[in-house]
Amino acid sequence: MHFIVAFFLVQYAHSVMKHTDHASKWDNFFKYARIVIFSLIATYYIANSPDWFGWIWNLGLLGLVRFFNQNDDFKSIRSTTQSVLPFVGISMVNDFFEQVFPKFFHSYEQFFQIALSFAFIFCFVIWFYARKQQKVLTQEREERLREEQIAKETKLSLEYLVAERTQELTQQKEELQKAIEELKATQNQLIQSEKMASLGELTAGIAHEIQNPLNFVNNFSEVSVELCQELEEEIDKTGIDDNDKDYIKGIISDLSQNQQKITHHGKRADSIVKGMLQHSRASSGEKEPVEVNALADEYMRLAYHGLRAKDKEFNAALVTDFDATIGTVNVLPQDLGRVFLNLFTNAFYAVAEKKRKLTEAGQLGDYKPEVKISTKKFDNKLYIRVSDNGTGMPEHVKAKIFQPFFTTKPTGQGTGLGLSMSYDIITNGHGGVLEVDTVEGEKTEFRITIPIA
């Protein structure tokens, strides 16, 4: 009986512990507990079933219950293991009476046996009940585990979805930001080109208004020169005293010279007005296939020799980097030529200025003026760069160079119309872009981009 109780107690405890976190920790304990129980039962039979052996069982069982009750890992089975106590108690009372009052014990042996049997049965009823409870618990636990598993999976998939959405949103946000930046750039460009266009129109309008009165100034001054000549001839016909004649002729000569001066400066103004008028005529004419490389080369030389004619000292290296695959491109040849002429004239002027300034400061060193043209055809676009290692421009100058009448050249040397017209020709005439990059005192680079249809 004791063996069965002990064996099932250990068996029960082990089966419960299997489902807890501490299973592996106690595996060895249960193994040894079983070995001890089996060796005890073996010893009991080998020793010919001595009466006192019941005490060992009882003490062992007590020790086991005590052990279970004291260790926190066995909290869940504590109450069940305590069901052994009545059995142990009755067994101990039985043994006590059997050995101390054998007569009394024997006369009531039946009662003792029945009590012990009840205690024994009680143990198993409790265990049976606990086992059932245990099964329910296990089932519940398993269900909970399954639910947890499902919840975990749901959570994972949700997290994945969230991550996906987040990524989508981030991407959208970046795309939107990019779009906004592009819009801003386009807006700036539009504002700039609108400004340029209205300035161009204004310029052309002013030119028209000025041209008529200017024509009168020029025509009247010219006719006055003729009148002076006639007057001189008429005076010779009269009989005025020679001294007086010379005096009168002197005055007429001065008058004539004044009229010539008026004509001269009127013509100067006229050429400026003509330049201004070219703004409105920039888009006249037809596009035709043109060898852009040849055109650029031609105007580079033209600008160079134009400057050389005025300044024999002037010298600069002409560097060309032409993309031979360009061939012919549909452009307005005269207009584009004017752009080249403007850009090259400015480039040569910039290097000449730098050389002059360095010479004045006595720091010429090994400065070598260089003007470079490079062309490139790529992705249906024509790229043209005109660069120089001249004076460069400060930021406030760079901001204004495309405005009409803005010039840094001394009075009479520049009209301030070249770049504004070039801008007009490239943007409005060719649907392209004209940009500038510059480092003050070091270099300037003009970049033309023209779409090739």
């Binding site: 041209q211 008529n212 024509n215 009168f216 025509n219 009247f220 010219e222 006719v223 005529r281 006249s284």
Partner: protein, 125 residues
């Protein structure tokens, strides 16, 4: 012979300019200049002096009747013995030129007028 020339321009100074520029020719009786300062005035002048005017020099851009309208009117009203019409304009673009020539202008000059060229052209008539 004196050739009657009508100059039509809204700028009144054109009168003294022509008179000075062609002083010798006027004095020599080669040319006789009349002036009108609008298209309407020019038509009135022509009505009052029928078949007198040989040559008309007209500006195109004028307030009221433009030179082009004047040209149309002249070509419509004087189909027989038509005067020569020379257009003078500050806008020497192709469209302006073609329109004037199509409407029956005999010549087309751009301002500022080159008077030596004009003189030669007038003397050839």
């Amino acid at each position: 012979m004196d050739m009657k020339i009508l100059v039509v321009d809204d700028e009144e100074d054109v009168k003294s300019l022509f008179e000075q520029k062609f002083r010798r020719e006027i004095r020599g009786g080669q040319f006789e200049f009349s002036f009108a300062f609008s298209g309407e005035e020019a038509l009135e002048f022509m009505q009052n002096h029928p078949s007198e005017v040989v040559m008309i020099l007209s500006d195109i851009n004028m307030p009221g009747m433009s030179g082009i309208e004047l040209l149309k009117k002249i070509r419509a009203d004087h189909p027989s013995a038509p005067p020569q019409v020379m257009m003078i304009t500050a806008y020497g673009d192709a469209a302006n030129h073609d329109q004037a020539m199509q409407l029956g202008a005999d010549d087309f000059l751009t301002k500022p007028v080159n008077f030596n060229e004009l003189k030669e052209k007038l003397l050839l008539l």
